[in-house]
Symmetry: C2
Subunit: 331 residues, 2 copies
Amino acid sequence: MTATPPLIDALQYCNWSERIFREIAAGGVSALHVTICYHETFRETVLNIERWNRWFERFPELIMPARTGDDVRRAQAEKRCAIIFGAQNCSVIEDDIGLVEIAHTLGLRFMQLSYNNQSLLCTGCYEAEDSGLTRMGREVIREMNRVGLVIDMSHSAERSTLEAIAASERPIAITHANPKSWHPALRNKSDTVLKELAAAGGMLGLSLYPHHLRGGSDCTLEDFCAMAARTAELIGVDHLGIGSDLCQDQPDSVVEWMRTGRWTKETDFGEGSKERPGFPPQPSWFKDNCDHANIAGGLSRAGFTNDEVARVMGGNWLAFFDNSFGKISDG
Amino acid sequence: MTATPPLIDALQYCNWSERIFREIAAGGVSALHVTICYHETFRETVLNIERWNRWFERFPELIMPARTGDDVRRAQAEKRCAIIFGAQNCSVIEDDIGLVEIAHTLGLRFMQLSYNNQSLLCTGCYEAEDSGLTRMGREVIREMNRVGLVIDMSHSAERSTLEAIAASERPIAITHANPKSWHPALRNKSDTVLKELAAAGGMLGLSLYPHHLRGGSDCTLEDFCAMAARTAELIGVDHLGIGSDLCQDQPDSVVEWMRTGRWTKETDFGEGSKERPGFPPQPSWFKDNCDHANIAGGLSRAGFTNDEVARVMGGNWLAFFDNSFGKISDG
């Protein structure tokens, strides 16, 4: 690990633009895990990578593609931001286990086994019944373990998540969620899940998405950081990071796509409601990539030591990347 | 370059099997440029890469995927064969220039701008009219130059080939063909093309495919090597390598796919004929990957020095790989 750990946010899906890339630089963010797939097929996900390739070509002084923890260190040294691709769903691999390695070769480093619905691999957190890992799910976990593609269970259901933690031979991640005991959203996680996750060496990225926060958009920085402190006591500070779920500048059509994809002709409001169907406003203290400093300050005031703050703000994710992004024999 | 240059064959499309991989090892072949696309779409080409990934997983002691010249050196040191992917057509990038970089990331290092027919990029050698590079063709050449994907004009028509040599800022290749002055097949190349190719730093891989040989399957090793010697005089020995076009163990259905793809409902006999529609038999002195030694011996007897033989049998290709497979700034 470098002397000063890099600032890492392990989940964002902004409406990327030069302005946002400059904010990322101004905020000193050295690595972002960005979503390149919600419901996209393999070919559609490749189109999203092509879009990133054009941004990498256009803004080489601001961003760079990342494959490893060392790429993050290089980005930090060069004051750029390392972009790590992730999929919030397994639609990217379609029904083809061979696409796990192909996607990894193209830079994918996180993949959720399901989004809110049942997938070919496991159950999502919005289904009435959670039947756990499927036959293909178990095969895909083994293949993800082999190539170094991290299993992310952020949107998956409880039993599926516990089975994935048990089935995976490598630590897994919940890149963006909070404890259900703090705020009982469907997307937040039970203490059981959080403890099993950490016991298996996994990582939790704390979410700043209002629907995951107690009080929603009005959640205070103090309450969020007190929750972080209690979570650190529950699972250990080494298993805690940030996965803000920031969706800056996105039009509401994007949250509609996230929720309904092509699986329904009806409107599904997901975590929203008919009255509030769009993206909720961010809390005043976390609106863009310059606001990570607010969280770091809040964590200090909540009792985290300087070293612990640095670990939660990026050091823990960097160590996790080092252990997770390659073949086991590589390390 | 290592002390002893590796043995490299810059074009094969065998019906790959453990037996052939073991022959490759027995023959001491350190690198093969293998075809993964004739008429396949992007997604279908990815399926072919998936098939190779399974072979890499199954036979790690025999073969390995290669991205760079140094990978070839590593393969040589470890007595394995470095597998370099190539496309004999531009169908792999469909109508999407962004797929050039994606294909390169997946390991593609050669792409023909056209197979026998007109493509979106240029004209193939079987068309009646050769209209040269298309608008997209010029854009794709620039993008291939940028990412380090080698332009291969083996199956392209004369004017298109000359225009590609002129338009490309980096040396290009004709991976598998012979001089038309020796054997006037449609697929063989004029002295004008060969001289322009070499003047621009390009490489010619001499073909062992019977339809490209004077006398076909009965061509003698002596005649082939005398042709090689005359070609070396014409374009310089540094621009000469082997691209055998070996299609070992393939059923005739494969040559039908090569010739007709999905572009016609009729039968196109290509270089064959109604009487001899299938793969022609290989010359007795080049039937599999253990026979490269015969060619090396024949070149010696035709007057090549030991150093020249080593360069033609692989050293020249290795130097070309070093200069061609990365971004210009990488080297």
